[in-house]
Symmetry: D3
Amino acid sequence: MQYLGYGSGRGYPHDHTVWPAAGFAVLVMDTRGVSGTGGMPGVTPDPHGGSGPQVPGFVTAGIHDPERYYHRRVFTDAVRALHAAAAAPGVDPARIAVAGGSQGGAIAQAAAALHAHLPGPTPAAALIDVPFLTHVRRAVDITDSEPYRELVRYLSTRRHDVDEVFATLSYFDGLNLASYGSVPALYSVALRDPVCPPSTVFAAYHAWPGPKEIRVWPFNQHEGGGTEQRGEQLRYLRDLWG
Amino acid sequence: MQYLGYGSGRGYPHDHTVWPAAGFAVLVMDTRGVSGTGGMPGVTPDPHGGSGPQVPGFVTAGIHDPERYYHRRVFTDAVRALHAAAAAPGVDPARIAVAGGSQGGAIAQAAAALHAHLPGPTPAAALIDVPFLTHVRRAVDITDSEPYRELVRYLSTRRHDVDEVFATLSYFDGLNLASYGSVPALYSVALRDPVCPPSTVFAAYHAWPGPKEIRVWPFNQHEGGGTEQRGEQLRYLRDLWG
Amino acid sequence: MQYLGYGSGRGYPHDHTVWPAAGFAVLVMDTRGVSGTGGMPGVTPDPHGGSGPQVPGFVTAGIHDPERYYHRRVFTDAVRALHAAAAAPGVDPARIAVAGGSQGGAIAQAAAALHAHLPGPTPAAALIDVPFLTHVRRAVDITDSEPYRELVRYLSTRRHDVDEVFATLSYFDGLNLASYGSVPALYSVALRDPVCPPSTVFAAYHAWPGPKEIRVWPFNQHEGGGTEQRGEQLRYLRDLWG
Amino acid sequence: MQYLGYGSGRGYPHDHTVWPAAGFAVLVMDTRGVSGTGGMPGVTPDPHGGSGPQVPGFVTAGIHDPERYYHRRVFTDAVRALHAAAAAPGVDPARIAVAGGSQGGAIAQAAAALHAHLPGPTPAAALIDVPFLTHVRRAVDITDSEPYRELVRYLSTRRHDVDEVFATLSYFDGLNLASYGSVPALYSVALRDPVCPPSTVFAAYHAWPGPKEIRVWPFNQHEGGGTEQRGEQLRYLRDLWG
Amino acid sequence: MQYLGYGSGRGYPHDHTVWPAAGFAVLVMDTRGVSGTGGMPGVTPDPHGGSGPQVPGFVTAGIHDPERYYHRRVFTDAVRALHAAAAAPGVDPARIAVAGGSQGGAIAQAAAALHAHLPGPTPAAALIDVPFLTHVRRAVDITDSEPYRELVRYLSTRRHDVDEVFATLSYFDGLNLASYGSVPALYSVALRDPVCPPSTVFAAYHAWPGPKEIRVWPFNQHEGGGTEQRGEQLRYLRDLWG
Amino acid sequence: MQYLGYGSGRGYPHDHTVWPAAGFAVLVMDTRGVSGTGGMPGVTPDPHGGSGPQVPGFVTAGIHDPERYYHRRVFTDAVRALHAAAAAPGVDPARIAVAGGSQGGAIAQAAAALHAHLPGPTPAAALIDVPFLTHVRRAVDITDSEPYRELVRYLSTRRHDVDEVFATLSYFDGLNLASYGSVPALYSVALRDPVCPPSTVFAAYHAWPGPKEIRVWPFNQHEGGGTEQRGEQLRYLRDLWG
């Protein structure tokens, strides 16, 4: 299972040849309502969108109500896509990994964590790179980069809604979700990442109760380990599943 | 009638004291779905939102279908707000002006133009400052500023949707709408405006068939005439209505 | 009494309708020698200017001599304008508030504080938003924004004049002046303000010996509380004066 | 044959799975002396480097002597890599395409063009995306982006060496090399490309005498057609070779 | 005679060793009221300053009155300094050159041109590099760089003062002054100069009726010919005076 | 002896008149392989360059091998240039000072330190301004400016080479070299220097065991003390040598 970063669409099959080339089937989940910016196009609508006022972006869409928050639908998509993957022909349901970087890391982290409370197949591993939407309260204080800045822009005008906004986010914050993580997880973090600050990633990593490893890239920004991390992931799954 | 610029919310009564101080009642239309960034908060939801994929922002929301395009709802709000204003106690329905700058200028322009095809009260004047969403095809070619750049970001990934996107926009482009404008209009344009380039504003001004004047501010950017234009508007309405 | 921010001119009556709309008479003091940039024009000359070398700007004008420092004239103007306001017809001299943000906050703070040593009417309240020229020595160390950076640019060339410059500034520093503040004061501070850093504002607030309140805006930059702070001020004066 | 963009290293096999997934063998040529920045690492030294003074970068390395210019060695590598590819087991020497974007586009263009004067196998197709080092004299006048700006920085100090520098570059300029191109070529160009301006790409395309097509991406910058262009290339080769 | 660029102070004798090393005595005129930014300190006050409102900077100081405009005093200083130089011991009054770059170029140009209408010694040559304050009306339209931008900032608020401002400037514009230039002049211009655009420099050069040469630096910005131009000047004076 | 900053070429005799004007002969060492950017041209080739992969720049050239690292050749040049200076006619070998700022400061520091282990003449004083390549491990962590950033860019892709890179650098790091410094040294440091952070300069200064002084410029960036420091140096040598 591959989840996508903020603003990326699903693209085409030829955009996702790495996993098949290594012998894994891959299912890519298009992030609903996202068209893609500068890269791969997405085509999946978000018919249930449309809610309260927001600033442009997907971080504040529906932020005043956990029931209508955009990421509720995205995380639900993620779990259901996992079920779809498990039911696909030729897939061993006991050997499904969820993977993603940035927003995709948040989704993978959530999908892996949420299964603990859900019926149906469970992922067997989680590959979580530089996850977004994790320890949000700290992130907005220490970084000025998008997409966390979307929250700051929102709260700079909705000056009285700070508590309500963070109450909604608490249901989706990777730091909280990670504490339900029981499957083996391979995290990565970049020490110069201005988008998803390292301390927010370490916080989630430390909260994850299952077996875990983390790769630390000291000279990288949000690109993280890049191709090296991809190699780490291939080796990790090989070691895990023989 | 006051319409708001892109990203601005309705704020509070004390944000709109100029017109009352000059003896005009004012009705401010909150732009649906917009929270406000860095300034006045908006509170009006957009319950009918939620459609195809988009990049963050309100320019590409629903862009693949004129029936579902975000500005269809906004322009409809504008016309209906005009009706509400006309029906308000103490308002002379024959002396209603629509006004706005930037996105608000686009809305005022649309509201003034659309009444030609609609039953109900008509505005008696239009005050249109540095309007956005006007001669869009040209704008995206000559400026790199937001919010026009939102279209460029969208089309940079949706490479095959250029014709479809501009087909939708043609229903909302101020250049087309201005050609229905019959009421007296006071435009303003700033010759160094990187957000709403002057040639796109002049195009709409020249297309407007009704009585019209334009104030040209040679050394200004998107702030346009600012307080001077406000003074021009006060004098213009005074001259118009005695 | 309204004092203006750095670089702003007095504008026109229609730029100052908020206070009258709320039932207060308002006197706006044009800041001498300032034309206004990008906004409201100012028209008041500074005939006594012209002194030692400076870098462009008003922070270093006359900086080598407290007798000739630009802000000496501005603060004197502020006190005299206060006297003029008190003598105006229809004004209750016991109910005058001084108000301003940024440089205007510095002027309001100074005007409120200086009356302790001066004959004549005293303001009854001070509304001080994100004040500039306050705890200057700290400000130049922790922010790189204009107009504090004007001092840094000056001292980067006048390398041997550091002590002399700060000696002059000590007469005008809001941190020192605040310690004379005895009237009720409503401060505001923005925790992400890069122009007037929050610690410099808190320093003055804590130094103010009179009755005081402060509104803290955690997600705002130099715009501070904006329209919300304006609402706070209206409520504050209403509570104070019934 | 895949050539790499400016500053990119060869990376790992898992960085190059697209072509194999589509049924093509792929040989990636590491660009000598380039370590890679922010992405894939390169490991190939440039033992013959070391020459006259230069500014940091590979565009001005050896610029005073066509015999010692850096790109002479790179283009030679490209031709020899082509020979190596043709001799590899399982490769049909009659069905080799050279491909690359940006600097890689310059190398592919050069490799395809130079074979006309060289013994040995010839490429059967060229896939040239947004090529760099093409119509250089024009490029330095109309763009301020790196890596063309490296030349401007050099000539801003070597003020008397303009003619000599462009004399060296004339041996390597894609506009000149393209005129030897006889094999089928699929170009791509992005109309908002600030790095390799479109007019420089069109110039080479028009100079190419062999069969040719070009894909024009109107809303893209240097990323060009991205995944869409990749799809075009896959279709193009399929059509060409059945 | 050496005049200084905008914002530069006179510094120390060891900042001006080039001319003496080449056998010329040098008199450096401190620009009044200027402290220097980031470089050489200036110490000369401008006691006659202090006039109408302005934006920070020396371009708009006194701009509403040719009698009180800042550059009137500076140009007068320049002529008087020339007289002082001519009267200094060891100076051959028939072999005085005025020199400067940027604002210093404007001053040198003015000093050389004004002598035609003045009694007293005349300079024998003018070395004018990338002069500022020349063809100002065009400059503000084609560049957005400081210090020309100071005028734009001023006029963006003083929207009704455009004609008056340019009327004042017409007395000091190098394009007008150059037409009085009768002594041999060596100009320089940089084709990528964003501060003093080349067309404004060429305009003055063409207006200069006396004997003249110009060095054109195609790859330079406002640094112009730098050390190469210094060499040109040394050769030029040597050729002129044997 | 004058060594040059990063990217500067040797220029012309008229670029180096300060020291002769003060009575000192000066020998300027061109930094090999450096053409100069935007300023003085350099003409000295680096025939022994050409080694492993690198990112553009001179900091990572040969970084994998202390024997082939670029600065090995530069520091060797510096020592040999010192010998050449000592042998020049009219030079008192007992009164040679090495001097430089930034990269030139690194070279001067190295040249002064290395003589302790070398036969031949020794410098009698070192003038070291804001030295580069000093306490490198700390510098890359606290500054994001070039040229230190060149290392970060390199290591962001060469993720596994961190130890090897710093092992090479340890032979050239000014912090290590300074500990061999026995001659009188005048350092300077600028407290706002983003290029060579002050803590890295202080570290070297404290490590220098010989007689030493340091000038601290609190409001300056990488320009350091500029003309004031030059004055300090002239006085320092005068005091030292009578």
